[in-house]
């Protein structure tokens, strides 16, 4: 193993670790841009994970085929389940005006329990492992681009990933374009910064909050599906989300509420989380390695608060519910 190989493989692993984070982070950024601080990402990812796996598994059972149909079922179910989780949050905080922090934390606990419970139910149904077949595993494996993947360096860096990595990238780009280049994106940001002002300007605050939170939840659900279908290769494993929902919330801060910056920060973040497995620094304890992503987040927080740039700050109304009567 020469140094170049270590670095290239490390970057490859960083992208793989960053992709589910990028999906969930994009979802959470969309949610927070509407002024909803949803701390329930972990739970939403669990709900997406179990729904995606269940979708793929049942599709295999019912249609008797592996491959594309279970894949589509997984995507659809995970996204819908994520949307439902976002809807729960939106109903509680936007319509019933429950405290956002409490609702988010409760959703995290609820979703985790939801995922584990139905995982267990599915396990009983399957009499052992809930496992998808080889064909379905393959469609969630690395895409085949023929000779391109064989190229030295470039192949490993760009062409040895599963489709969801590219999908996550596209989502982040689309989200960046939507937030910064479209009228609706501008309105959404206005809702997050100052819902009262947005309301006066004739923007339907409730509708924006609902749609952003629900779609954001859907993306978190897809992030959860990544954990179950790509990381665990379509096997139900109780702890499959492993705290990535919390990491995604941290990553929102790390990428300072920008889906475009989330692209490289998710790779940095992913790289830091897998660093101890791949880059040996003699004498450095593993516990210190494991702190790297969080130390980096603290540094970013300090820098952004020193610079006090409005571009890099949390949307002003995040965490606060909007009462039209109290404008």
């Amino acid at each position: 193993m020469n140094v170049l190989n270590i670095i290239i493989n490390w970057l490859n692993a960083a992208v793989l670790a960053g992709a589910p984070l990028l999906l969930a982070t994009s979802g959470e950024i969309l949610t927070e841009k509407s002024g909803n601080l949803n701390l329930g990402v972990e739970g939403q990812m669990y709900m997406g994970a179990i729904a995606g796996l269940a979708g793929a598994w049942f599709a295999e059972q019912w249609f008797g085929v592996g491959g594309m149909i279970p894949l589509l079922a997984a995507v659809l179910f995970a996204f819908i389940m994520g949307c439902i989780s976002g809807l729960i949050y939106a109903v509680l905080t936007v319509t019933l005006r429950a405290n956002q922090n409490v609702t988010g934390l409760t959703l995290a606990i609820f979703g985790t329990g939801f995922g584990k419970f139905f995982g267990e139910v599915l396990g009983h149904k399957a009499h052992g492992y809930v496992a998808v077949g080889a064909e379905t595993k393959a469609v969630f494996g690395n895409i085949s681009v023929g000779k391109l993947a064989e190229l030295p360096v470039v192949g490993t860096l760009f062409f040895k990933y599963n489709w969801m990595v590219y999908f996550a990238l596209i989502i982040a780009f689309v989200m960046g374009w939507f937030l910064n280049r479209t009228r609706k994106g501008l309105s959404l940001r206005a809702v997050g910064e100052s819902p009262g002002t947005a309301d006066s300007a004739g923007i339907n605050v409730t509708r924006y909050k609902y749609i952003a939170t629900v779609v954001g939840g859907g993306l978190c659900g897809l992030g959860g599906m990544y954990m179950a279908m790509v990381n665990q290769k379509g096997i139900w494993v109780t702890e499959c989300v492993s705290g990535y929902g919390w990491l995604a919330i941290v990553l929102v801060i790390f990428s300072t509420w920008s889906p475009l910056r989330a692209i490289y920060s998710s790779i940095i973040f992913g790289g830091l989380t897998v660093m101890y497995m791949r880059v040996p620094i003699p004498g450095l304890p593993r516990a210190i390695y494991m702190m790297f992503p969080f130390i980096a987040t603290i540094i970013v927080l300090i820098i952004t608060s020193i610079r006090q740039s409005k571009e890099h700050a949390q949307p002003a109304s995040t965490g606060l519910n909007y009462y039209r009567e109290e404008r």
């Binding site: 492992y129 080889a134 290769k233 494993v237 109780t238 702890e239 990535y244 003699p282 593993r286």
Partner: protein, 382 residues
């Protein structure tokens, strides 16, 4: 809107009251601490408690221990309600609470199955001298001076040795990877036995060990498995809870030897075999002792010979030819009793002879203690 809220509140209140009433039934008619009323304990009235760190859906340690419970129930003809399980108990104050609850619910014998429970078990055992407490993988019963505190484990290293043979014969690059949980004697003893098994059939084999830092973190297990594959390992072993190393091996086109459960259905193209437990032997023995009024051994650990541990069926489609024969040979040697896994000469990474030629290191009955890193094994420097 206002009405909607009012009705919602009323509905929630009704639901709340209903759930309180529904739950209440269970609370009554519970017998008190059996220690206070020393009636005759029989198989018909014995109550058995379990405290587990996760639940059977981990498909690993707890799943397997629970299989032991089920087997015990069948063998002893116990009823469903004679066994109380406390799943998903963290290794903190909650463990103590769970133990006390079990004691108050009338359990005669309580099994705590995770290493980190031990201090809590010791504390609670002191307060309930007439209840038997059995703790897996611990080591403090001997020195605690408590008559009702017991440790149990088994010679899993013997099973790991056998599973290592399958790995040693299969590897072509002579490089095995190992996903470990913690740099801790139980893990080190396990991978050393695994390595010795591989080396017994393949003298050139080397092994790289990487730790996840957690007993159960499937994501890290997957990432570490991939890191090991990237470093050139073509067979992976594991000492962690999930199937992640098995499926990662399958995706990476390499092979895998598991732990705790048969992983062939999870990774049919990669899983060669697994080192597995049969805890029912201990559970049946301990429960029978309580019923007979005899003492449970303070320190218990049986192995391959008694059937406490073994390997799961070989994946015939992918194991190297001759694997079964080699394993049977080693098994016969271990069962005959004149040879054991840690037989010298064994040399550690610094060149010190840790077990001399002709000598054999024997693990204590519970809680493995081997912590030498042998020549040929690469562990992270910390």
């Amino acid at each position: 809107m206002q009405h909607f809220k009012k009705w919602l509140v009323i509905l929630l209140c009704a639901l709340f009251v209903f759930s309180m009433v529904a739950c209440d039934k269970k609370g009554t008619n519970e017998p008190t601490d059996p220690g206070k009323e020393p009636g005759k304990v029989t198989l018909e009235n014995i109550k058995i408690g379990f405290v587990h760190i996760t639940d059977p859906s981990d498909q690993g340690y707890t799943y397997n221990h629970n299989l032991g419970t089920e087997k015990m129930k069948k063998e002893l003809g116990l009823k469903e309600d004679q066994v109380i399980n406390k799943f998903n108990t963290p290794e903190d104050q909650a463990c103590e609470t769970a133990l006390r609850e079990l004691a108050e619910q009338g359990c005669h014998i309580i099994f705590a199955t995770s290493f980190g429970f031990e201090d809590h078990v010791l504390k609670v055992a002191k307060d309930y001298p007439n209840i038997q407490f059995c703790h897996a993988t611990g080591f403090q019963a001997k020195t605690s001076g408590l008559k009702n505190m017991h440790n149990y484990f088994g010679k899993i290293y013997q099973a790991r040795y056998l599973s290592g043979i399958a790995a040693g014969l299969k590897t072509e690059k002579n490089l095995i990877g190992y996903v470990g949980a913690h740099p801790f004697a139980e893990v080190i003893s396990g991978f050393t036995a695994f390595y010795l098994g591989a080396k017994s059939v393949n003298p050139d084999v080397k092994m790289i060990v990487k730790y996840t830092g957690s007993w159960n973190d499937p994501t890290k297990e997957e990432q570490i498995a991939k890191a090991l594959i990237d470093e050139g390992c073509d067979v992976l072993g594991q000492h962690c809870d999930s199937t992640a190393p098995a499926t990662a091996a399958e995706a990476g086109g390499v092979f895998h030897v598991g732990y705790n459960s048969d992983m062939r259905t999870a990774a049919p193209k990669a899983s060669l075999t697994s080192a597995i437990w049969d805890w029912s032997r201990y559970l049946v023995m301990a429960v029978n002792k309580v019923v007979a009024g005899e003492e449970i051994p303070v320190d218990w650990g049986e192995g391959l010979k008694e059937g406490v541990c073994d390997i799961s069926p070989l994946n015939d489609a992918i194991v190297a030819p001759g694997t079964a024969e080699k394993i049977e040979e080693a098994r016969a040697k271990i069962i005959a009793g004149d040879w054991d896994v840690f037989t010298g000469p064994l040399v550690d990474t610094e060149g010190n002879v840790v077990v001399k030629e002709g000598e054999t290191f024997m693990e204590p009955a519970s809680a493995p203690s081997w912590d030498h890193i042998l020549e040929g094994i690469q562990v992270p420097k910390e």
